[in-house]
Amino acid sequence: MAAAARRSPLACLEALSLAGTLPLALCGSHSLLGQTFDRMLGFLKNPVVVTAEINLSLVALTVMGLMSRLWGLSYPRAVVFDEVYYGQFVSLYMKRIFFVDDSGPPLGHMLLALGGYLGGFDGNFLWNRIGAEYSMNVPVCSLRFLPALAGALCIPLAYQILVELHFSHCAALGAALLILLENSLITQSRFMLLESILIFFILLAVLSYLKFYNLQRHSSFSGRWCFWLLLTGVACSCAVGVKYMGLFTYMLLLAIAGLHFWHMLGDRTLSNVSLVCHFLARGLALLVIPVAMYLSFFYVHLALLYRSGPHDQIMTSAFQASLEGGLARITQGQPLEVAYGSQITLRNVLGKPMQCWLHSHTNTYPIRYENGRGSSHQQQVTCYPFKDVNNWWIVKDPGMQQLVVSNPPRPVRHGHIVQLVHGITTRYLNTHDVAAPLSPHSQEVSCYIDYNISMPAQNLWRVVKHNILHLKLFISACYLSHCSNSESLLFTFFFQWKILTLKNEDTEHKYSSSALDWITMDTNIAYWLHPTSGAQIHLLGNVCTWASANVAAVVYTCLSLWYLIRRRRKIYDIPEDAWQLWVSAGQICVGGWVVNYLPFFLMEKTLFLYHYLPALTFQILLIPIVLQHLSDHLCRSLLSKSMFSALVVAWFSSVCFAYRTFSPVTYGEPLSVAELKDLRWKDSWNILIRKQGR
């Protein structure tokens, strides 16, 4: 396949995207590019030859991957774990109802929804409980198809990455097989979850970058070079678009690209102009395009969802007015500009902890609060989270007595001084040097009642457009609920999305775990349990692979340190090009593991085992790298080499054995109590065993 890839960059992509059918790398014996008349003639003289070069092991791996991930995809026909969460969003997409999800950007949800769309899902399913049976209208198979496909394609990607790192096809085959037989990746791929899609894009980004980098030396600025560079940027933005976790790999690739560029700077044969061109090309492909694509995901999200829904209220009023139904129903046909005499409602823009409107009612503040502080005993002004007649205010010019709208209406402008009259009680909004009920350092806001004591009304407010409501005298802000400005809509939306933090009160979850548990797999997650038969699905990794991946990481680190120190003393244990291979493989695999794992120690959100899967994928890729290095450079004699190979075969069969052992809880096959007990290899695993006699 490597040979084919050198001829046509598209061939590999074809091999990936046309998975399931026979991937053909069609290459003309002569290039059609740069054709001249002479060459045309020459071309006609020669017979037309089509050579197809097929890497059968890659095809076989892809087919096996597809089988392992797609087999019996619609079983169990019930809501499994986080499907209950993502399913809601799929339904909302199907019904085109606006929503925001605070946990991540929208691309992942959109891809899941695409599956639903292709399967003809109408969105009518109540996603309320894990384990609930799907109704007939839910196309389970097509909903789960895209994640499973992405999971299956990770296998050829892993193969190609090792090939591009210049390791042997045998090592590449090993990497692909380890990914194929990793139970946790299988489980995570087979349901409507986002991790497998994320891992697919991460690996695609890494592969594209490696292809790009390998082309760099010989054919800069060629078509294939551009293609792989662009694909790196696109895959990175897709990874970030699926989950913010993709950012870690994106940063890693940026850092590696920066490092490579730094090395290029030292190359005195390159002219300054070509360096600038290289820099600009990388900047465009790795910075500008990902950002643009990331924004476009939000644009598509907004374009798809045009109906009002449950999450409207965290957005600005202007945005809400643009949705079908909801606020648009009210604001339809109302004047755009506020004039003196207009009746308005005022909503606090921030919307935290909940959205509310400026409100007043006939009740007054208590004369004394519980803690003994006094108040003005004037009419209460509050922020009320529901629509109500008491939310209506009239804008009045302080210089005029009457409230009627003059003809032509005089619009209120930025900086004008106005009075606000409460519609129902006809009292003026007022503030004065009396401590507010709960925040003693702020002033109280009330509706003024003239008690005829020496406290004059301080009821003039200055309108400052586009500012958060500051309740200071003269400095009030009103964001007018119907100044819709469609240009800034996307950006407003974007920032609102960022601001939004639905505060997670209880971060405890039955299956939540700490990042330290992941390395040793001290934790599992029960995804699904059959109500009667005892069949269950767990997120549980291949014990053997996890342990060997850890060993590989340790061996890699120790060996690297050893080599590094010895090289510093000018002792070269391995040839220079082998050392370069070793380092570049480490940059990708150890680097990928570190950036996808260590940040979790700093996070305060609820963590689950599946957060470790991207890091694990990189760690698994390291195993064959270390094995090949050991056999190439440390096993000097033929005997030790063959001993080593035998050990590797034995180890690999134990990986297969572990895969077989745990595959019942991966695929959800029914098991007896005794069998389940046998599977509980670690005390900390939570395998659900029904009590006898129930």
Binding site: G266, D506, R568, R569
Partner: protein, 715 residues
């Protein structure tokens, strides 16, 4: 330090640097031919100015300002030898206490709240001590920059920035930990830099002196606040880089390298560690009386404090049926009855009787011991109800189960059964008072008894909620130990047997400090200072006084200085990148330029810039409450960077002017102009540190009128 600097790698550069130093001492460059006498005079001048600015109006205001209420109080605790708890390690407060003790302060002032007048109490010793350490920062920074850049103007610029920064002055004038911390921090940086410049004569006396001084200062910095960890990191990175260079030097044998390595281990790891432990030893030796900090520590530790209700008491060691015990969440939870000092008046509501799950032990039966894994009932001694849990949600933590007292006279139901387990033991072992950390598992639901740490509302007497958590996890919230233990049939032991070892105390106090630090979370809706506010001098801290009639002191950096620093960081980044690229591309430069740029900009400036990053960036990841004064260590580095950067920049550009006298004049004129700018801005803003009385700045008649350049400044 970027490896690309390359100036320090390999044997060649090392020797080269040595020779350069030798030649370079008299006329290093045509622009700075100053004799060492001038440098000494300059050092004297900046030291004098520094002390004068810090000690000016030191007694004002004669009342407690800001955090003096904490650290002054803790200094008094040392003088009174009362045990207390603080989230910072003890050295800073011990030194404050020592200064107070030596200057004749008797520890009687209560330091209750900011604004309390000192009256006749002698507080000047403590303030003077802090001001002394704060004044030392300026000569330290001067010497560091001089060592890094070998340029007097750069050092002078840095020194003047620090002398005339209102923030540094204010922070040095009160009884606070920050001047002490910054003293050790700058001391560590200075000794590190000095030690680096001794690298050409390793194992000489001065080399050993500076290396061990680095270690001592590191211990000091760590001993004052955990922020000292950042400077440890800085020194650590520098040492690794150093060793790496030495390793690459093939002229050095591995034995010599081993000596280098061991010398650093000795001076930078073992020495600081010993000193750090020693200061804790002193801390625990001095504080031997019970005080406000007891409840944060485990029962075994409390038994060592004079006056604590656990001191010198004796209780049965193994638990038998029936017994009464006082259960405290381990450690630091709040049970009712904490703070009651005599044994006889202990709150009886904390006592429970342990019974077997299936039988009521009568008083005549022989003693049976409670073992790991036993199933028991806990009967509340006062009300005779059993500790009970069931599948109802707890009042505050919805996902946990409610825990109640149930039944009459000790008869309840199967929901009263609890399995008792000792952490880290196997079945059948005896359970010991105070030392066994136990876990109580509810038999029927499988949940674990724990305290959720949330305070109940008024109806629950604002005590801490107890729940039964269904998530089986190891957390300190679900560990308990037996504290009081009454059983007439068992022989009593003295708690001295349980005396924890010093290492145990040390570990425990660190656990408590770390938990205390992470517990300092901002409350909802509380306005807190954000790290990005700091370099732009966005908002200061009120040290004293709010109203017009008060004597007001406001901690705010001199805005001209701080904005210059901020601008310089960007400038430095630009210069450093262009220098690195130019060197990498092999742009034709004179070798002098090349050496100068790589040594000063990349190596010296890089070290300082790294220090700034290490002392600033970690705050973005901290969840605890942050304050403006946390930036000051980073600000020291930023000021040094400003000195180095402007000096290099002016020197570089003035060299393009043709007659060397003009070049010289432009270069010196630039430095003098910057210094004058700083002095003038200090003249404008000095009332911030030395106190303002009268109308606020918004009033045109105020002396500060027109100086409130940002709306967020509150003066």
């Amino acid at each position: 330090m970027p490896a690309a600097g390359g100036g320090r790698a390999g044997p060649g550069p090392l020797r080269q640097r040595g020779t350069r130093r030798l030649q370079g001492t008299p006329p290093a460059s045509p622009l700075s031919p100053r004799p060492p006498a001038g440098r000494r005079a300059a050092l004297g001048l900046v030291t004098l100015l520094s002390f004068a600015s810090r000690f000016h109006r030191l007694p004002e205001p004669p009342h407690v300002c800001w955090d003096e209420t904490h650290f002054g109080k803790m200094g008094s605790y040392y003088i009174n030898r009362t045990f207390f708890f603080d989230v910072h390690p003890p050295l800073g407060k011990m030194l404050i206490g020592l200064a107070g003790y030596l200057s004749g302060y008797d520890g009687t002032f209560p330091f209750q709240k900011p604004g309390d007048r000192y009256e006749q109490h002698n507080y000047m010793g403590m303030r003077g001590f802090c001001a002394f350490l704060g004044s030392c920062l300026v000569p330290f920074a001067y010497l560091t920059v001089l060592e890094l850049s070998k340029s007097l103007p750069a050092a002078l610029l840095t020194a003047f920035i620090l002398i005339f920064d209102t923030g540094c002055i204010t922070l040095s004038q009160y009884i606070l930990l920050d001047p002490i911390l910054m003293f050790f921090l700058m001391g560590a940086v200075l000794s590190m830099v000095k030690c680096n410049s001794c690298a050409d004569r390793p194992f000489s006396a001065s080399w050993w002196l500076w290396l061990s001084l680095t270690g001592v200062n590191l211990a000091g910095a760590m001993g004052v606040k955990f922020v000292g960890l950042f400077v440890v990191l800085l020194v650590g990175l520098n040492t690794i880089n150093d060793l790496w260079d030495l390793l690459g030097n093939l002229n050095l044998s591995l034995v010599t390298f081993g000596k280098h390595f061991l010398a650093r281990v000795l001076c930078l790891i073992l020495l600081p560690l010993t000193l750090y432990m020693a200061m804790f030893a002193v801390h625990f030796a001095v504080l031997n009386k019970s005080g406000p900090g007891d409840g944060f520590f485990s029962s075994a530790f409390q038994s060592q404090l004079i006056g604590n209700n656990l001191h010198n008491v004796s209780i049965p060691e193994q638990d038998g049926y029936p017994l009464s015990c006082h259960c405290d969440p381990y450690p630091g939870g709040l049970c009712r009855g904490e703070g009651i000092y005599t044994y006889l008046h202990k709150d009886l509501n904390n006592l429970w009787i342990i019974k077997k799950h299936d039988s009521d032990a009568d008083s005549s039966s022989p003693v049976e011991f409670v073992r790991h894994g036993d199933i028991i009932r806990l009967e509340h001694k006062e009300t005779s109800r059993n500790l009970h849990s069931h599948q109802h949600e707890a009042p505050l933590t919805r996902k946990h189960f409610q825990v109640t007292g149930y039944g009459i006279n000790g008869t309840g139901d199967s929901n009263d059964f609890w399995r008792i387990e000792v952490v880290g033991r196997r079945a059948g072992r005896l359970i010991k008072v105070l030392r066994s950390k136990i876990r109580l598992t509810h038999v029927a639901t499988g949940c674990i008894l724990g305290s959720s740490g949330k305070t109940l509302p008024k109806w629950g007497w604002e005590q801490v909620e107890v729940t039964c958590t269904p998530y089986v996890k190891e957390t300190p919230n679900s560990l308990w130990n037996f504290e009081d233990h009454i059983n007439p049939k068992l022989p009593n032991i003295s708690l001295d047997v349980l005396k924890p070892s010093f290492v145990e105390i040390l570990l425990e106090s660190h656990m408590v400090m770390i938990r205390g630090n992470s517990g300092l979370k901002p409350k909802d809706n509380e306005v807190t200072s954000k790290p990005w506010h700091w370099p732009i001098n966005y908002q200061g801290l009120r040290f004293s006084g709010v109203n017009e009639t008060d004597y007001r002191v406001y901690l705010l950096g001199n805005p001209v200085v701080w904005w210059l620093n901020l601008f310089t960081i960007g400038l430095y980044l630009l210069i450093a990148i262009s220098t690195a690229v130019a060197l990498k591309r092999g742009v034709q430069l004179t070798s002098e330029h090349k050496g100068e740029l790589s040594r000063v900009v990349l190596c010296g400036g890089g070290q300082v810039a790294l220090g700034w990053l290490l002392h600033y960036l970690p705050f973005f990841m901290m969840g605890r409450v942050l304050y403006f004064h946390h930036y000051f260590p980073a600000m020291l580095f930023s000021s040094m960077l400003t000195g180095i950067t402007w000096d290099t920049l002016l020197k570089f550009f003035s060299q393009f002017l043709s007659p060397s006298t003009t070049a010289r004049r432009v270069y010196e004129g630039g430095i003098v102009a910057l210094i004058l700018l700083i002095v003038y801005s200090f003249y404008l803003f000095h009332p911030l540190s030395y106190g303002m009385i009268g109308p606020m700045a918004s009033d045109p008649s105020s002396p500060m009128a027109g100086l409130r350049w940002m709306d967020s400044w509150e003066f």
